[in-house]
């Protein structure tokens, strides 16, 4: 495993291009495009203001940089560095911006969610989508990029409109109202035929609509308590995992849309078949005689960074449980993160009540498989897009990998702190970019090594 040297970064904006050749990162108002393998700077673009958001177009030819404060979106071309494009929303303001799946349209959400403007890069046409819903996931594209679902709200009722991405036409009759109180998010199934719509956390309700707008099913687990926190579709569209505030994940199956199982996340793990990996610190061995002043850089870093390794804990294991304050909104409880592995075999979850643990469930057996207990709170995790390998970061300078063969903790070499807050895999699964607040570094994995 090789690590590159850390590079400057701001705003956690480090993205691999979809074709995997380039890596875009931004430092303040500059956009740097590097080659993935050599990390040599290929292009350098300067924007008008501090960049808040960047996104690659689907064909990796363009990058958009959004500056929300100024309400400007700038688009850069990789093929033609001289080409430039600037979209000014003016007084309408800008809250969000994203590419359309064909890579030629940019959807800007204006302030106060007044409207979504669809700017086209190939024609002079502009489309407007009125009354978009001000929610986290209000726009969802199907995986094949054909259809786009937009959540709207009119007259205090939620609606979903389905548009054809090729010509931004509303699919006939596909403007339906949902039975939600206050729609929180929408997400397409990977097969593009089912749209999951779920309600605010005050109501546990998830609705499943078919592509043609028919309501397929409604699922409500319970009333009154806080409801859905996160959802995830399995890559084969067979399962829908719903994580809720009651620290449970419920799995619905795609045939009957009924719950097939629930996964509980208790603080004590008693099942002997579960493997619990606990991260323990290894104190570094320092030869005191050899110490000299001033200490050389390498030694200094190794003195201050502690090695850690995984130990298999004996079941029963009790994990650190945090009960959040009951009188605050958006409490840190419930299942906050859900992710299916790309081969559909595993589901990784994080219970916000137990922030130091990652729970890995075996989907074939519908049982808890592994629990990773870390020393610090989990910041993020992501599955390798090619194989069942999970990378976890907890805000320290280590990155942790788990695969069915075992798990390993890797220290990122380098001076100073490198607090990894986020990570992102390369599409090939050979490398990943580790992001911290100030820097980023790329980690290259050898095929045979970490298994």
């Amino acid at each position: 495993m090789n690590f590159s040297e850390p590079f400057k970064l701001s705003g956690l904006l480090g993205r691999f291009s979809p074709d995997g050749k380039c890596l875009a990162s931004c430092v303040q108002y500059r956009l740097v495009v590097r080659d993935v393998n050599t990390l040599q700077i290929l292009q350098l673009y300067t924007c008008l203001d501090q960049i808040q958001y960047i996104e690659w177009s689907s064909d990796s030819l363009f990058i958009l940089c959004a500056m929300y404060k100024r309400g400007i979106v700038q688009v850069w071309s990789l093929e033609q560095p001289d080409w430039h494009c600037k979209i000014d929303e003016g007084s309408a303001g800008l809250v969000a911006s994203c590419w359309s799946p064909d890579g030629r349209h940019i959807l800007n959400t204006t302030e106060f969610h007044l409207r979504i403007t669809v700017w086209s890069l190939c024609t002079k046409s502009v489309s407007y989508i009125k009354y978009p819903k001000a929610c986290q996931q209000g726009v969802a594209f199907t995986k094949d990029g054909r259809y786009m679902a937009v959540a709207e709200r009119r007259d205090c009722k939620d609606f979903v409109s389905i548009f054809v991405c090729s010509d931004w036409q509303l699919l006939r009759g596909q403007h339906f109202d949902t039975e939600t109180q206050d729609l929180f998010g929408i997400e397409w199934a990977p097969n593009g035929c089912v749209l999951a719509v779920w309600d605010t956390c005050l109501e546990y309700k998830i609705l499943l609509y078919s592509l043609d707008g028919r309501l397929l099913s409604t699922y409500r687990a319970y009333e009154w308590s806080l409801g859905i926190k996160s959802i995830a579709w399995s890559p084969s569209s067979q399962f829908l995992a719903i994580g809720s505030y009651d620290e449970k994940v419920r799995i619905l199956n795609h045939v009957t849309w009924k719950k097939i199982t629930e996964f509980e996340h208790p603080a004590t793990i008693a099942n002997t078949k579960t493997i619990v990996y606990k991260e323990v610190e290894k104190s570094p061995s320092v030869e005191t005689e050899r110490l000299s002043f001033p200490p050389p850089r390498a030694l200094a870093s190794s003195l201050f960074s502690t090695q850690s390794k995984y130990d298999v804990s004996q079941v029963p294991v009790s994990l650190q449980y945090i009960k959040p304050a009951a009188d605050r909104a958006n409490p840190k409880m419930g299942i906050g993160m859900l992710a299916f592995s790309p081969d559909n075999c595993f589901l990784a979850t994080k219970n916000d009540n137990i922030p130091n643990a990652v729970w890995i469930w075996d989907i074939q057996k519908l049982k808890l498989f592994v629990v990773l207990e870390q020393l610090c709170a989990i910041q993020s995790f992501q599955w390798d897009p090619r194989q069942p390998r999970l990378a976890v970061c907890t805000g320290n300078s280590k990155v942790y990998f788990w695969s069915p063969a075992g798990c390993v903790s890797v220290q990122v070499p380098g001076e100073g702190d490198f607090q990894i807050v986020s990570l992102s895999w390369h599409a090939s699964g050979d490398s990943m970019v580790l992001l911290s607040k100030e820097n980023f570094c790329v980690c290259y994995l050898e095929r045979e090594e970490v298994k």
Binding site: G90, D102, W119, L121, T123, Q174
Partner: protein, 541 residues
Amino acid sequence: MGDWKTITVPVLSSDSKNIFQYTSDKKISSPSMNSQVLRLPLPSSKSMHSFFSAFCTEENIEQSISYLNRELTTLGFPSIYAESKGKELNLISIINCMNELLVLQHKNLRAQEEVEMQHLKLGSDMDHLQNCYAKLKEQLELSKREIVGLQERDRQLQSKNRNLHQLLKNEKDEVQKLQNIISSRATQYNHDMKRKEREYNKLKERLHQLVMNKKDRKIAMEVLNYVGRADGKRGAWRTDKTEARNEEEMYKVLLSDYEQRQKQLLVENAELKKVLQQMKKDIISLLPPQKQKPKERSEDGPVLSDLEEDIGELNKENMWELSCETVREQLTNSIRKQWRMLKNHVEKLDNQVSRVHSGALNDKDVISREDHEMETEKLELEIQQCKEMIKTQQQLLQQQLMSPCDDDTTLLLQDCYLLEERERLQEEWRLFQEQKKNFEKERRSFTEAAIRLGLERKAFEEDRGTWLKQQFLSSEQDNRLVKSTSQQRKPHCVLSSSVSAEPCQTSHYTTRNSSSVASKKPAGDDSKPNRWVESDKEETE
């Protein structure tokens, strides 16, 4: 019980007072039931004397005697006087009476003892019963008190139960109330939210208008040059046709997804059906043959036969094509039935096993167990025997193989074998010799018989020759006679012919005979035909 009747003795002198007193003293009353004391009837020796002297004195001898006589006669005893009116006493009768009286006294005593014994017994029984009665009364009292206590406890528990129910109801009511409160608050909040949202929407609309109206900052896109579409196509107008096309495409997408899913489900279904079929076959094969359980036969026999038919039907037809309800139901029902039967069977076996373990006395089981044990013992014995046999055989084999260990013994053994053989051979030789002798004897007898036969044959030939000569001579004479009388010839001719025929016949016969003699075995049959020939010859001659 102890009361004695006072016997008034009539007609007595001043002594009677004493008697009265005495007899009245004998009044024994036993007030307490427990007293077992009986006063013996025999008085003390002192009073005895006074008693005796009180009755009879020198003055009233005759009167006392006559009184006694009267009493005895009234009691049925013979008179003590010698004669009816005489004064002579019959000593013998007196003695007899005395004896009788003594015997009577003894009997009465015995009867009295018995009665007293019975009296004692009854008294003890009575005491015992009284004790029991007292105890039972105590017990009854105790249980009554207990019942009262338990009833009290029961009442307390019931009241507690009622209280708890009440509490539960209260809690439930509270929960319901809280839920109602929550729901009402939620509706209130929703209403407020909606109101605020409407206001907000109004603001947004206003803002939108303002934003759109403002012309100073142009909302526009600056682009160097327009880029071609990703897929190279040119932009198209939005028309109804395109709308329809879009819709069509959407439906196509949906349909393809459904078709794919249906295919998967069909495949899964077919596999599951196969598995079910397999399971059914396995279950049927696992189930025991029904003849062991005649009871079940009547129930399951027809069911099984139906199932067999079903199985046959289902097996014949192609499973993939059968997806209609009835067939599916049949299959599942038949599997369920089979499974139930198997479960019952397994349960029965479990029961049997558990009963055997617990050792309950059920004839069937006991016998079967005994049989089982017997059989196992038999088998063990057999095994033992076989093992022993194998052992001995092995030993023998070992000995055989290990023969050169001791030369003397081997030689001895060999000698033994040789001796055996020799003896056998000797016997055979003996037999052979005997047979040989027999054969020799027979041969000799045959040769003698043959010689005799030859001689006889020779004699016969000579006789024949002479007879032929005679015949020939006689026949010439006859021929002369024949010429004279023709009628007489015929019989003669006949005769002659017959005669001439005869020697042929006889010659035939002899030849035959000799041939037969030659052919026949030398078993002493020669004598017969010889004799026969001779007799024939005699006849003819």
